[in-house]
């Protein structure tokens, strides 16, 4: 993966987060939560910085980041799509839903569309089993989804975010 250079602002944010947990190694997971919340994802460079601040090895930080499914090392799309793969959704056809989204967006689970608009992930149980199968786009929950509806749901976001062409300053 190509190296990215963290901006001064990002470095400050990460350092502040670490400091707010007193640079305590035992608070690593809380630090990572906070960093991901603020930065969106946790690239290798951020992990290196956190390791340095908490005075622990990069391997340990990486070990924790990759262990937990909640942490992302890749940037998420503008509209992250999550398909619930809990058992209740599975028996009500979540697999077909996932297949259809993959087909429509032409990406695999864990990837983003080239324009950065959508990313696709699976999650384990939203807790809305009464609405199975469930798809989440950002924070919005779509319940009782049928494969035929996918095109419409995606279009909602695609059309909703057609913005006037941007000009580079």
């Amino acid at each position: 993966m190509p190296k990215i250079k963290l901006s001064q602002r990002t470095i400050e944010i990460v350092k502040e987060i670490c400091l707010s947990f007193e640079n305590n190694e035992g608070e690593l997971i809380n630090v990572l939560h906070e960093a991901q919340h603020k930065l969106g994802y946790l690239p290798a460079e951020v992990q290196e910085l956190i390791a340095h601040e908490l005075n622990m090895s990069i391997a340990k930080v990486y070990g924790v980041v990759t262990f937990y499914s909640f942490f992302n090392m890749l940037p998420q799309g503008e509209f992250p799509i999550s398909v619930c793969m809990g058992t209740a959704c599975y028996v009500r056809g979540a697999e077909q839903i996932l297949h259809e989204i993959k087909r429509q967006l032409n990406i695999e689970v864990g990837q983003s569309t080239p324009d950065g608009k959508f990313s696709l992930n699976c999650l384990r149980c939203v807790g809305a089993c009464g609405l199975a199968p469930v798809v989440m786009v950002g924070e919005k929950v779509y319940g009782r989804v049928a494969p035929q509806q996918i095109r419409k749901i995606i279009a909602e976001y695609q059309e909703g975010c057609v913005r006037p062409e941007k000009h580079e300053m």
Partner: protein
């Protein structure tokens, strides 16, 4: 709650929330204000009512009217008709599936009739963000009783006498667990609430935390008093933002009321609670893994003994209890061990919360006495199988449990019966399956989950489950042989016997139970290369019967991938190289012209 004449309770559980229940509340508030009823009517967002299938739910007190599937635009009708004119809005009432008669009081619905609510006693009754409402329903009375009138040992004895066992799945006696920690000598001890509900399809703990967070806080303080701990930690999934927010609010209110903090009720006992966030790892439900995760490490389990009760968080004695276990504690103290003990079976006392989901009419959260049969749960409370299909199996215990068939329907549910039936209680997920579900695929689904969630520390779980998955994958693709079935069995046994923690020791259960109960289905896959349920994609083919097809184009219009071609009023055909086997055409066809083979 005394000042208002009427209360409108709006369900704020996850399911109803996803169906715009916040908008319903806001609209009701606007309507109430519009008609100048602010002083008489209170609109409250509560926790989960349990009847998720019919959500969003609005309940009106004092007349107990239970409105189902309410839409935000129904708010004005409810206020104008029910509140002002005193007429019930009939179209929003629940209809009895038997005779289609409207039922307005939830007490008379089959879904609620057989339920006994202990852990869920306040869910759907109180505003979880208002401590006064919890206190009005005997909240913190149990803590006051313990601190004021009883020694820690007396409280432990009461819990032991109640016969309560851990609701997280293991079923370890709660009182005994507390006693071990209380007898351990250390300068600091901890109380941990395990709210890392990772079992897919289970949402009991989440609903309790969202609907009644104070019951958990109160119980943790009682546990702290009994075990001699001053610090409590709640390990909660970061994926549960609403539960986290409500818990934070509740902790803050409890501190303001002096129910957490130093010298509670003027006694020397001090106790406070902080939150720790999980980050999505199923194995962290295992207590040693959970403790490592709280310490900021990878959530890998370690060998027991030493048990956390002796050496846990930061090496100190730690009591780890599940959310549901804790939520019942105040009731045991308030109503006495004998009350709790009188409910249930010989070895499993009290009630159990289940998240009922899958192919069932009444999806929802239920609480029943131990010893209720699966039949009562599925057919009486659950209202039977969706779409009039045939019941095939019920899966309990999540990825660690098994699939039970018809022959187990009359088994009373308790820890020991479920284990001897080849499944387990688990945390309380109950997924119902019908004739369209392929049991080999279900076993594969669970294995895929285990594979994803195995922490990788011990070899049997890391590599063994991968091999199991590969064999199942082969079978569902029609490439399996009969030898594969015996290989599955022997590998399952090795993994069960040699894995380090509960995850690996139970991961083969979904395979073993389906092999035992649905061997014919496995045989059909390996011998005839057929999937009897028509679910394994590689083994099914949809075809249109040209004699029956009228060319109505319904299938053509509904096919999401454009695999169907044909002219209007002429027989259509399916291109199997494009078909994703979603079955939409089959469901849509009105002429029975599409067949699955």
């Amino acid at each position: 709650m005394a000042d208002y004449k009427m209360h409108l309770l709006v369900c704020g559980g996850t399911g109803c929330n996803a169906s715009d229940s916040e908008q319903i509340r806001d609209n009701l508030l606007t309507e109430v204000e519009k008609h100048d009823l602010n002083d008489e009517v209170q609109v409250v967002m509560t926790g989960c009512f349990g009847f998720c299938e019919k959500g969003p739910i609005v309940k009106i007190l004092p007349d107990n009217t239970f409105y189902v599937q309410v839409k935000p635009e129904d708010a004005s009708t409810i206020v104008e008709e029910h509140l002002i004119k005193g007429r019930k809005v009939e179209r929003l009432l629940y209809k009895d599936p038997e005779n289609n008669e409207p039922i307005s009081d939830s007490k008379h619905m089959e879904f609620y009739k057989k339920q006994v609510r202990i852990a869920l006693r306040n869910c759907g009754f109180i505003n979880p963000e208002n401590i006064d409402e919890y206190i009005a329903r005997d909240g913190y009375a149990a803590l006051a009783k313990c601190l004021g009138e009883r020694t820690p040992q007396q409280v432990i004895d009461e819990i032991k006498l109640s016969g309560q066992r851990g609701r997280g799945g293991g079923g370890f006696p709660t009182g005994l667990k507390w006693e071990i920690t209380s007898k351990s000598v250390a300068d600091q001890k901890y109380v941990v609430c395990n709210a890392d509900e990772g079992d897919p399809g289970a949402f009991m703990d989440r609903s309790i935390l969202e609907g009644d967070p104070h019951s958990v806080i109160e119980a943790m303080a009682i546990c702290g008093y009994c075990t001699g701990s001053t610090k409590g930690l709640v390990y909660i999934r970061a994926e549960y933002p609403l539960a986290i927010q409500r818990l934070k609010t509740a902790i803050k209110q409890a501190r303001e009321y002096g129910l957490l903090g130093d010298e509670i009720f003027g006694t020397p006992f001090s106790f406070d609670i902080t939150l720790r966030y999980g980050a999505g790892a199923f194995v962290c439900g295992e207590e040693t893994a959970l403790i490592h995760s709280m310490e900021g490490l990878r959530g890998e389990p370690t060998f027991k003994p030493p048990f956390p009760s002796e050496s846990g968080y930061l090496g100190k004695p730690t009591t780890v209890n599940n959310v549901e276990t804790l939520a019942s504690i105040p009731v045991i103290i308030n109503k006495g061990a004998a009350f709790f003990n009188s409910i249930g079976t010989a070895k499993s006392k009290g009630t159990k919360v289940f998240a009922l989901a899958g192919k069932i009419n009444n999806v929802g959260l239920i609480e029943v006495p131990m010893g209720t049969t699966l039949r009562e749960v599925i057919f009486d409370i659950g209202g039977g199988i969706k779409g009039g299909k045939k019941f095939k199996a019920v899966q309990t215990g999540g990825p660690s449990g098994g699939c039970l068939t018809n022959s187990f329907l009359d088994t009373p549910i308790d820890y020991d019966n479920l284990i001897s039936a080849g499944s387990m209680m688990g945390s309380g997920g109950m997924i119902v399956m019908d004739e369209d579900d392929c049991m080999v695929s279900i076993a594969k689904f669970y294995l895929e989950f285990t594979l994803d969630e195995s922490c990788g520390k011990c070899t049997p779980c890391r590599i063994g489950n991968k091999r199991l998955f590969e064999i199942l994958d082969k079978i569902t693709k029609g490439l399996g042989t009969e030898e594969d079935l015996s290989r599955l069995r022997s590998l399952c046994k090795v993994i069960k016997d040699t894995s380090l923690c509960g995850l690996g020791q139970t991961s083969p259960n979904p395979i073993l139970s389906t092999l035992d109960n649905f061997y014919d289905e496995y045989l059909a896959h390996v011998k005839e290369h057929k999937c009897p349920a028509g679910q394994c994609k590689s083994l099914v083919k949809y075809t249109i019967n040209h004699d029956k097809c009228t060319g109505c184009t319904l299938c053509f219009r509904n096919c999401p991938v454009g695999a169907i071609a044909g002219e209007k009023r002429a027989p259509h055909t399916i291109d199997n190289s494009i078909c994703i086997k979603c079955g939409v055409c089959y469901d849509k066809c009105k002429f029975d012209a599409i067949s699955v083979s």
